[in-house]
């Protein structure tokens, strides 16, 4: 298939996944803020900042001059047109990419993305002033639209290169997101040695944000603790948002793309995968969880670059 088309499919799914992840982060942050225990107060400045730290946008947020309040953080991350990865901009980019490669999508896939965009515009118009919706029903809606697109894709598109590039974008973006959330959230949990109740809510929020709370209970049948959360989200092969799962999928997809190209991407993927398949939590801790995850995020970015260079902008 055309390299340009493959690139646009890959990016449309990355943007959609990014929008979904943003919604997950903000939704969990909000429900967390509603829980008031002795140690966690709603106005904890570190908690308010967290979504910005996770998405690496603290400086960009400060530059807007908005006051550091949770509603302002949510407005910025969900709706700010000047923030390239705001949910609004992600959905717009997703739709723009889809629009230029409509021929490679099924009608149902296009209608799903286009409807999402049109509805988002309606929500924007309905809002009074700059108070756009940032409540849990909005985030839930974004998640649902993303789920719907994946479902429609799964159910309607031929199992061919377009399908593979769409999925490739999803998993590369998702692995990045899980690593970032884990890094920021566990940093707080570990560093301050909070008590069990605190851990329960804080780590429970991490698990909920990646839809892994049930998986945790089924796997450990025990209280939530930081080590197990890390283990689950890094090494568990059955949890769809864990790092290992994302890389297994990426590897499978790369094996089903044209083999005459893509050598660098397959090599980098195999490297990452080896570390995840045969790694242990002790090795992670020896290196330091934060450093380990930072390294993973960087390697994952390199993998994305290799995909870009190998398939998406092949030079003549």
């Amino acid at each position: 298939m055309l390299s340009r088309v493959a690139a646009q499919l890959y990016w449309l799914s990355r943007y959609l996944e990014r929008a979904e992840n943003m919604a997950r982060i903000l939704e969990v942050g909000q429900s967390f803020a509603l829980v008031s225990t002795s140690d966690i107060t709603r106005a904890d400045p570190e908690t308010i900042k967290e979504p910005l730290v996770i998405t690496d946008t603290l400086e960009a947020f400060k530059a807007t001059g908005r006051p550091m309040r949770s509603d302002q953080v949510a407005q910025f991350l969900a709706w700010d047109p000047s923030h390239p990865s705001s949910i609004f901009n992600c959905i717009q980019s997703c739709r723009e990419n889809a629009r230029s490669v409509r021929g490679a999508l099924t009608v149902e896939m296009w209608e799903c993305i286009n409807d999402t965009w049109l509805e988002l515009l309606v929500k924007k118009k309905k809002a009074k002033g700059s108070n756009h919706p940032v409540d849990s029903s909005f985030f839930e809606w974004i998640k649902q639209r993303s789920h719907l697109f994946r479902g429609v894709t799964f159910a309607t598109i031929q199992r061919d290169q377009p399908y593979n590039f769409i999925r490739l974008g999803t998993y590369l973006e998702r692995a990045d997101n899980t690593a970032r959330i884990l890094s920021v959230k566990t940093r707080v949990a570990q560093a301050e040695g909070k008590d069990m109740v605190d851990d329960y809510y804080r780590l429970g929020a991490v698990l909920r944000s990646v839809s892994a709370l049930e998986a945790y209970r089924d796997t450990y049948r025990d209280a939530i603790d930081a080590d197990r959360v890390s283990e689950l989200l890094i090494f568990n092969a059955r949890v769809p948002r864990s790092l290992l799962f994302c890389l297994e999928e990426t590897s499978y997809i790369l094996d089903h793309l044209p083999q005459q190209t893509g050598r660098e991407a397959r090599k980098r993927c195999a490297n990452l995968l080896t570390h995840l398949r045969f790694g242990t939590l002790n090795e992670v801790y020896a290196q330091g969880l934060e450093t380990y995850l930072e390294e993973f995020v960087n390697e994952n970015i390199h993998l994305g670059d290799a995909v870009q260079g190998d398939y998406l902008e092949v030079l003549a």
Partner: protein, 473 residues
């Protein structure tokens, strides 16, 4: 002196014509709410499937729907049979003319068309001289604009031989109508049009000598007003929709950039104008073209459809000579009539035009899309005075025609049903064989009294039904 407008649905006494009787009966039996409900449903379907048309120069990239009216334009079998013959004849002659002017130029030697009209024409491309094309086909796809005058006869308004568009609306109107009015299709034997993409692909594949050719559709990109159509057709034909940056030239051949590496391209169905096709040969700052394409074309290593330089045959200054072409090349009498045309480059015709501007339609010879024209009867005094100055400054650039009273067909409006002017653009596919799907695109001027049907000027479309026979099932 004003002739009554020909109404497609009803005769002079107000009775529905025979091929409209079943529809008329159905319409009368329809409760009014249902019509409104269907219109809403139609708008929803169009919006969801993204049938849009973005205008050139729209800064925020907004999209406007081309309104689709739900009353079909019905053409009976006999009328269509004549139209079809006339179209085949006309497009065949135009192709022979193109081959001729780029080879022996017999028609110029015979003195039937003034040489300077062809050779000094901005659309004439010297690079096409003595280049032999497979099947001597230049205009693989022609969109011939036809109107019905108050005398009931069909007239050709213009021959679009460059990159005619609109066929996707013909197809989507049919899909829409079948979804909304299945019952109507049971009472009428409407000839199908849905196989147009298959015919088009066949035409393109047989347009080159390669056994299993790779065909691509070359679009200027998603900001082009007809992008929806490009994507739609590519998808329907199962071919790649490429932009200039996807193609490159190496060792005398054209390739496209794929995830598997370069792949050779044999036929380019281009929806890009001549001058943007190759920045090395034409406009150097064209980003939508392919550097070096013209030289590959000259070597016969790629087929471009439509061919380069077809504009010299559909130019409005050449239009008056088409009946002559038909007689010259085919030795036949033209079946389809031309609209009377005054050529402003001729001094006596210019003075006639200047004296009668309020009654005439004046067009630029290279213009398209309803831009840069004067519609005398609806123009203000000031507009006419201003246009006269432009006309006098550059008479070669203009032709004039009588204001035709385009036929009218009822459409749904807020207050019920009202007649609006329409035209018809059938699409003729030419190659080893000539194919036309029955019907074409009916465009409708939505404003009361307006004669401008172009979608860029607020026009809409209708489904066009050519009947199997005059008998209603």
């Amino acid at each position: 002196m004003v002739a009554p407008i020909y109404n497609e649905m009803c005769d002079a006494s107000g009775q529905p014509r025979s091929h409209y009787q079943a529809f008329d009966a159905w319409l009368k039996a329809c409760p009014e709410e249902m019509v409104h409900q269907k219109q809403t449903e139609a708008d929803l379907i169009s919006r969801r499937t993204g049938i849009t048309f973005s205008l050139n120069g729209d800064e925020d990239g907004t999209e406007r729907l081309i309104p689709s009216d739900l009353i079909p334009r019905i053409i009976d079998a006999h009328e269509w049979a004549d139209l079809e013959k006339g179209l085949v004849q006309r497009v065949k002659a135009l192709n022979m003319f193109l081959h001729d002017v780029y080879h022996q130029q017999n028609i110029l030697r015979a003195g039937l068309i003034p040489s300077e009209q062809v050779l000094a024409n901005a659309q004439f491309m010297p690079m096409m001289l003595s280049l032999d094309l497979p099947h001597q086909t230049y205009a693989h796809i022609a969109g011939v604009d036809i109107v019905r005058h108050s005398d009931g006869g069909f007239y050709v308004l213009e021959d679009n031989l460059r990159v005619p568009s609109g066929v996707s609306y013909m197809l989507s109107n049919r899909i829409l109508m079948m979804r909304l009015f299945a019952d109507l299709f049971r009472s009428y034997a409407v000839r199908p049009v849905e196989h147009y993409p298959a015919l088009l692909l066949q035409t393109l594949r047989s347009a080159c000598w390669v056994e299993q050719p790779t065909v691509v559709l070359h679009t200027p990109g998603r900001f082009n007003s007809a992008y929806f159509e490009h994507a739609f057709l590519a998808k329907q034909m199962g071919i790649e929709l490429v932009e200039g940056s996807d193609l490159f030239v190496r060792d005398g051949y054209v390739f496209m950039q794929t995830t598997e590496g370069p792949q050779q391209v044999d036929v380019i169905y281009r929806r890009v104008d001549d001058i943007y096709m190759d920045p090395l040969s034409f406009l150097p700052d064209s980003f939508i073209g392919v550097p070096g394409l013209a030289s590959v074309y000259r070597q016969g290593h790629v087929v471009i459809a439509n061919a380069m330089g077809t504009g010299v045959a559909d130019d409005k200054s050449i239009y008056p000579y088409v009946p002559e072409m038909i007689r010259f090349y085919l030795d036949e009498e033209p079946i389809l009539k031309n609209v009377q045309t005054w050529q402003c480059r001729k001094p006596d015709e210019l003075s006639f035009v200047l004296a009668n501007l309020p009654d005439l339609v004046v067009k630029e010879v290279h213009g398209a899309g309803g831009y840069g024209m004067l519609v005398g009867p609806t123009a203000s005094k000031a507009e006419i005075t201003e246009f006269a100055l432009r006309l006098k400054a550059n008479p070669n650039n203009y032709i004039a025609q009588p204001t035709l009273s385009l036929s009218a067909c009822p459409i749904f409006v807020d207050q019920g049903i009202a007649p609006r002017h329409i035209d018809l653009r059938p699409f003729v596919l030419m190659g080893k064989e000539t194919r036309i799907v029955p019907g074409g695109l009916t465009r409708v001027a939505l404003r009361e009294g307006s004669l401008v049907v172009n979608s860029s000027q607020g026009g809409g479309t209708k489904d066009t039904w050519v009947l199997e026979s005059t008998e209603v099932r």
